[in-house]
Symmetry: C2
Subunit: 279 residues, 2 copies
């Protein structure tokens, strides 16, 4: 399952690549955008996996967030996977919030999704091993972050797999997917109608008996049109307080859900992960 280079460009003294590889978990060719900072020419570096939101591919974060500048400064590798399996033979839905581009970082159990939609295991297990074997990753120095649906993925993966991820942050995450339209539609399709099967993929529910061994950084724009209907940062704050989970939750005045919001604050997130992974 080796990585094949699809494209590469010099960027901030390092190199921005897109790879493809045949995934064991999804059974499809998956694309992966990777920024290797200048420090990676001298030896292994820590890495940050960034999970994107609905309708995105590996490209959006890579071309819009401007994270490479900060990653070059901190000597951090950036890894941006696609948000779902794709291609002929992979089921899809006409709407943007289900199917291709909307994997929700779960392992689907329901037909027709269960064959390919295994994004949880892809990010939790296949991707860390792949990076460790084929890219200059300092062993164990892996953080995870994401935006919106990807923020949900990052929080769930960090809470369930602190053995894999040593730092976590999120931008405008879907905090309580079991209770909002995006999440309930996707979870019903991928996991079935019984909400008890959704619990392992709901950050607020997981916090009842999981804690991340470190601080969680979350940024949320207060002019985000999805704030109360889909994202529910209040529910995350309550769940973290009840669980004793350290949370740095920043409400950013006037910011919306766009990449202009991500670009503004991604530097703080890169610094957060670089500091945690340096230890």
């Amino acid at each position: 399952m080796s990585l094949t280079i699809v494209s590469e460009s010099r960027c901030f003294g390092g190199v921005q690549r897109v790879y493809s590889h045949l995934s064991r978990e999804t059974g499809t060719q998956m694309r992966l955008a990777v920024f290797l900072p200048p420090a990676a020419e001298r030896g292994p570096v820590p890495a940050l996996i960034f999970l994107s939101g609905l309708s995105c591919s590996e490209e959006n974060f890579t071309v819009k967030a401007g994270a490479q500048r900060y990653a070059a400064e901190h000597g951090l590798m950036l890894v941006a996977p696609d948000t779902s399996p794709r291609g002929e033979g992979v089921p899809d839905d006409p709407d943007y919030d289900l199917g291709q581009g909307a994997g929700f970082y779960v392992d689907a159990t329901q037909a027709p999704w269960s064959r390919h939609f295994r994004m949880y295991s892809y990010v939790a297990d296949e991707l860390p091993v792949l990076i460790g074997e084929q890219l200059p990753l300092r062993p164990g120095a892996l953080g995870i972050s994401g935006h919106s649906m990807g923020g949900h993925g990052a929080l769930v993966l960090a809470l369930r797999r602190p053995d894999r991820f040593r730092s976590v942050s999120a931008l405008a995450p879907i905090c309580q997917p079991s209770a909002v339209p995006w999440g309930t539609r996707a979870f019903t399709a991928y996991l079935g109608a019984d909400p008890s099967s959704w619990r392992d993929y709901d950050t607020c529910a997981l916090l009842a008996d999981h804690r991340f061994p470190g601080p969680v950084l979350v940024d949320q724009g207060d002019a985000d049109k999805f704030l109360s209907t889909q994202l529910r940062p209040d529910a995350l704050a309550h769940a973290c307080a009840a669980a004793g989970q350290p949370l740095q939750h920043r409400s950013q005045p006037g910011y919306d859900h766009s990449y202009f919001f991500i670009a503004t604050f991604i530097g703080d997130h890169v610094a957060h992960h670089a500091a945690a992974l340096a230890r």
Copy 2:
């Protein structure tokens, strides 16, 4: 011809807007992306017009270059116009290098282009007046830059209109359009087959009797696949040397023609313009 807000997002403490307006020059609705830095809330600021390359709209620079961070730091407004008129009734060509998305910053004299394709006068005259009247521009504090076809536009506009533009730079500009395939195809269509009519839009030709009253900053990746066939930085260096035009020409090892190249060096360009426009 007032500016109508199409979208706006908070960004690096300022605001990123897209406007539309009916253009006197092109006779069409034109889109314009504008970043207002935080300093613009307190009073007029200098502005940098950035001209994009073939197939781009006002969006590419705005979402991919990451220039807002630097513009916020320096208190500089960023203005990114579209690269041509567009819409029903506007002529086009099936190829990417002519027609919509490929205005080449000329005033076309040939049918069917001459009615709408007036991007030279649009950028030289209509846009500066529009910005001056409807946005918080410090009078006269206007610089110009661009990439590829837009770098050509920036150099031509600065050489011909130093009354309008007080600073100039370019990234991977088409330096000698009269002598390369992109330029000769476009100039033949827009200006006619007689090369003597192309001279006013060719940087290297203009340098025979024009000089810009200040230094010209140009960055060029040495792994750019268009380097020798379309861009010809060597011709620009020779023409500037012969004319006594101060030129800071930087060959950037390993960089290609992409926005990863632009993102890496746009901070230096913003600083170049901010310094020139502060005087």
